[in-house]
Amino acid sequence: MAPIGTLHYLVTAAALFILGVIGVLTRRNVVIVLMSIELILNAVNLNLVAFSRLWGLNGQVFAIFVITDAAAEAAVGLGILIAFFRNKETVNVDEVDLLKW
């Protein structure tokens, strides 16, 4: 078996990314959608760290930024979710259609 190289990391990150995207697009529960968004962000982090091994520490620094950003975003997202739930009594994303014409 070949040694684990950068390619393996990238493929893993891509797979996680695609899973996250499919989750965002397909799942009915808003909480699951938010979790999928976290999955996407984590896939990006993995990508960044994989490349930092080759090109310097910038990648890792940026990954720290992304983690911070993800945390803030999760907080805000959950705040919106709670506000929405208080109004509409549901977490079905199909019901989030107030902004139509």
Partner: protein
Amino acid sequence: MFFLTHIWLIPLLPAFGAAMMFFFGRKLQKTTINTVCVGVVVLAFLFACGAVWQYTDFAHDSPGKPYQTIVYTWLGTDTGQMNYVMRDGKPAPFQADVGFLLDPLSGIWLLFVTGVGALIHIYSTGYMAHEGGYYRFFGYLNLFMFSMLTLILGNNYALMFVGWQGVGLCSYLLIGFYFHRHSASTAANKAFIVNRIGDAGFLLGMFTIAWYFGSLRFTEVTHLARSGHFAIGDPIITAATLLLFIGACGKSAQIPLYVWLPDAMEGPTPVSALIHAATMVTAGVYMVARSNALFVLAPTSMKTVAIVGALTAIFAASIGLVQNDIKRVLAYSTVSQLGYMFLALGVGAFSAGVFHVFTHAFFKALLFLGSGSVIHAMSGEQDMRNMGDLHKRIPITHWTMFIATFAIAGIPPFAGFFSKDEILWQAWSSEGGAYRLLWFVGFITALMTAFYMFRLMFLTFHGRPRMSHEVEHHIHESPKSMTVPLVILAVCAVGAGWLGWPHSIGGSDHFAKFLNPVFAHEARVFQEEGKTAQLAAGEREEEHTSPIEYGLMLLSVGAAVIGWGMAWRAYRHADKGYVEPIAVAAPPLSDVLYNKYYVDEGYDYAFTGRRKVGDVRLGVMGLGEASSWFDSHVIDGLVNGGGWITRASGSLSSWFDKWIIDGVLVNGPAILSRMMSYPLRLLQWGLVQWYALVMVMGLVGFVAYYAWR
């Protein structure tokens, strides 16, 4: 030289009187009105005498030198701001001012206008004593004197025209003095309108002179005309003089514009005497005499003047033969005598024409005032058929009118003989055979004049009384205010002619001598022209021998005496129901004459468009109707059309603004936006995951693009 330098006072005095009447007349007493209005005219006469007396001093060394004083520059300036280009291309320094010119010609007119005017004003105080509108009458009369004096004393055509219009206006006001009478107001309209036709000619002539000579001042125009710069027979001068003569025809009642004068007898008798006998109607003669230098340069115009004058003389005399209204006879007599004056001017006998104006003023005014006295005595009766046998009852009127009748008939030694005879002699002795015909016309007219005038006298004063008894009881001689002017005028009618006692019977002809400087040059030029034309035509030169002159003189007197005799036979003992000899001898002729040759009806048909004579309808519209149709349909149509075009373009603009600017340019983009938004907003479903899908698809697109690069 007070009177000369202050010559502008002469017209101003009556103007002052008129102004007083205008502002205060209604509240004034009769005596005040008398003092003011009659007083200003008498003063004007005294001033006029003074001015002419001082003029003879002024012109002592160079007789005929015109005295000119310019009071005020009216049109144009010294720097020539009203420059226009004359005919020969030079710029014209045009200037027309309020200026006064005194030379022998205007001096004579000034004297008799103010003199006769003063006498008529005095007469009017008696005649109009019982009439309403006393102050109005004298106001108008004074206004007339002002206008007439402006006309006479003006030093240029423009100022003369101001006076010309003024006298026309006053004629209208005074003829229509009894305006509540329909016939009077119609007659006033007729006078003014016919005058106006003449005025159009005067104006056009004036413009032509201004354009051709560059000036309107008499002194300058005469100087230019005499300078020999212009050829005799110059077409533009001929045109200008003919146009001026049309003006004279209107004002001085020549054919074809005489029709207003007989109807003008609707006005009070002093008005007829002043305006339509002595002064206003002579304005045309004055104007032609003043333009003598121009007329001499246009032999065609001279011939026209002479022919029209002679025709008018005989035409009007023939109508006067059968008229029954005493004032109508005198009116036609005036037209006829004016014809004599123009005949004189037309044959180059300018001073003879002016002399006849002078004598005519006296005896015609006397005749009119006398007829006024008769009418006053007859309690308003004017028809001679209802008069008769008045000579013992109103003796002063009778004798003064008789003197005037002798004068007008041309019986020596009364005034009319000298002037009329001079005219006839000049007509005969002018070069050219055709002028003999004019003499003959004048001769026949003299016969007719004598006849109808003596007819008037006999019918009015002699024969059996033909009036009603009431009227007969009231016959009384007129008051002194009326008879004294009659007597004064009678003295003048006798003596005025002696001023022009011709050389051939031993006189020294002061009148012609006085006027010599004004006319001598022109008379000579005219005689020269005639001689050249005659020699060219191959006739031998006429010798001016005295025997012919005496012979003609005897013939004129003979004609007058024959006329007198015929009238005596026919009318001396006229009783109720007398017959006119003409009616007996040739009834259709008598009808035609009595109806004035149907000229008024003819004018009615041609111009006013009266189409029904009784119940008969005649022809298509007259000139007046045609002009009025043209004005209301064509001209007003153009004006209205212009208005319609403006409104149509307005509505076109408003349509353009509403549909194109507002619709396409402003609303268009808005509508376009809205139309585009319909499909576009359908993209907003509100489904979050759908938006996310779209984002992902975009991302995939980008990646694919860069992957395949």
